[in-house]
Amino acid sequence: MENIKKTLVALCSQMSVSGYEYLAEKAIRELCADIFDEIKTDPMGSYVLIKRCKKENAPKLLIDGHLDTVGMMVTDIKKDGFLSVVNIGGLDTRVLPATEVTVYGKEEIYGLVTSTPPHLRKQGADSVPALKELYIDTGYSKEELEKIVKIGDPVGYRYKLTEMNGGYVTTSGLDDKACVCGIIEAMREIDVNDLKYDIYVTISAQEETGKNGSARASFGIDPDIAIITDVNFASGDGTPDYECIKCKDGCSVDISSLTDKDLTRNIIKLLNKKGIKHQIICEPSRTYTNNEGVLVSGQGTRTAVLSVPLKNMHTPCETVNLEDIKSLAQVICAIACEENL
């Protein structure tokens, strides 16, 4: 668990709003240099990390988790020094007011999303403000701000990782850094001699804005099999059980029209045979993951989807249980060491 925690901190402390994944390059290289044979970057901002099994004509297994997170971008610097912004990805704007953010200008500056007190809100205290009603307050004057911030600079939730009781951690960006962490830890633990595939890990870009990064990386790799990992809704107060998976029950294997039937069935069989804890969720016609792009990239790829349960998606306090990350790592290890999936 200590390795998982360390990796999670290394990943989550990096700003990687969709389109700006390249800023995390140094951290990714430091984290992964000893684990992989080769690390490459591509124009979309994705990282391709290769770990070879050193067997001749080994099939290629792609394992994807996305690095990018939802965030914002500066659209204007207002006359009183406030910043207007547009969302990048499906930001949960209901919880934005009074949120702490970092504006990535020439330097990183602290910002606070404005919040009109309920007493003064014309639309009523219960209504949720749209993003265009919100601004970022930095404390700077317009003149000072213009020296630091340009239109088009990205904005992210302020990094803060908190360990909770019961093995839970909460911070922004766990979608999908929890899974990236699981993949890296699996690759750290695995014995190369047991590998049955040349492994191509894609720590991919721009999932939150159209799922394009992994599909482009996959096009270049042309894998035989692709395992897509992403977070999925965790059940809890107010969320319907039938659309969710449970925290602490391990990662899930998703069953969907978009995932390969045999590959998925073989993975479930393998996990049952080895007694590895997991759960199943049905995602009938869409998975809303990178599987949708990888599936149809190039000449098409056999894909399976693994999910980690996550609470409070797309908010500053996304929450996962470390056990479920460990479970994902175990499942990935089992898959990478099994022939003929």
Partner: protein, 325 residues
């Protein structure tokens, strides 16, 4: 430049019907190109060969318009829209068909907000039989092209979207004497119906860098959606639109080159609408992309407005990027 732009604007071509504008561009660039080809979806690819990076510049040839979909007994022509037609801005406009038949597009009622379903083209025919002699189902119409100078360096007319991008590329092709990079100037088809032409051509070229040239919105007219781009404030360097987040490293490099050469530019974040950059970015293994845009008010209307001063900056920046990227 104004005369070139006018020539390109007069060669109409709705999406998927770009023959006339393609011919017009070929005529302009022929003496300056190393190679001119077209592909299966009608894209025009003009090359200036060089040793360095593969750079694809892309401006779309097509414009929005209408297909004649039905001719009623009285000779009135119902239409279906090609691309992002705004019924309010095209109601009561003069139109012209691919065969040079003139008419007007009008709503059935002038009291309600017009909808394309309730609009028709009147070519002056007395009945269906006479109309059918001039117009067949499937013929396309566009609003009549025109261009007029206003005060200063401002111009109104149509279709600046995206003949102004085409004109900038034609001018750049003429100005670039020796290509240091391997340059592909693509005049794309079917942008207005989903950036379709630029997809296959990006796959066949697989550029390292893709730069689109297109119009963008402005925020400085009364009632305009908030946007920090001004007409006459310089060309823009695109950072984001509804379809693409441009590659930050390329954007930074473009700004650096623009700053060094005193190009007047604005940083563009466009909330609604997109351009060919999004298609180029996701072709093959992906490309570094951004766009140079021309601020334009009243886009997709008969009175699109641009400032030629912005166009000049865009030409300068395009020529610089071609050799300095």
């Amino acid at each position: 430049m104004v005369e070139l732009l006018k020539r390109l604007m007069l060669a109409s071509g709705a999406s998927g019907r770009e023959d006339k504008i393609r011919q017009a561009i070929i005529k302009e660039v022929e003496p300056y190109a190393d190679e001119i080809t077209t592909d299966n979806v009608g894209n025009l690819i003009v090359r200036k060969k060089g040793e360095g990076k593969k750079i694809m510049f892309c401006a779309h040839m097509d414009e929005i318009g209408f297909f004649a979909s039905y001719i009623d007994e009285s000779g009135y022509i119902k239409v279906s829209g090609i691309g992002g037609i705004n019924p309010v801005s095209c109601a009561f406009s003069e139109v012209v068909s691919e065969n040079g038949v003139y008419g007007v597009i009008v709503p059935e009622s002038s009291k309600e907000m017009p909808k394309l379903d309730n609009m028709y083209i009147d070519i002056g025919a007395k009945n269906k039989k006479q109309a059918e002699k001039s117009v067949k189902i499937g013929d396309y119409f566009v609003c009549v092209p025109k261009m007029r100078k206003l005060l200063g360096t401002k111009y109104v007319g149509r279709p600046f979207d995206d003949r102004v991008g085409c004109a900038i590329l034609v001018e750049a092709i003429k100005q670039i004497k020796e290509a240091k990079n391997d340059l592909y100037f693509v005049f794309s088809t079917q942008e207005e119906v989903g950036g379709r032409g630029s997809k296959p051509v990006s796959y066949s070229i697989m550029p390292d860098i893709g730069i689109a040239l297109d119009v963008t919105g402005t925020g400085d007219k009364p009632g305009a959606s908030p946007m920090a781009v001004k007409l006459g404030g310089g060309c823009t360097i695109k950072i984001k639109d509804a379809g693409v987040i441009c590659s930050p490293t390329l954007v930074n490099k473009m700004r650096e080159i623009a700053d060094e050469n005193k190009i007047k530019y604005q940083n563009e974040v466009l909330l609604y609408g997109g351009t060919d950059a999004s298609s180029i970015q996701v072709a093959g293994t992906g490309a570094y992309v951004s766009a140079i845009s021309i601020p334009s008010a009243f886009i997709h209307s008969g009175v699109e407005m641009i400032d030629m001063a912005d166009v000049k900056e865009a030409v300068k920046l395009t020529v610089l990027l071609a050799n300095k990227l």
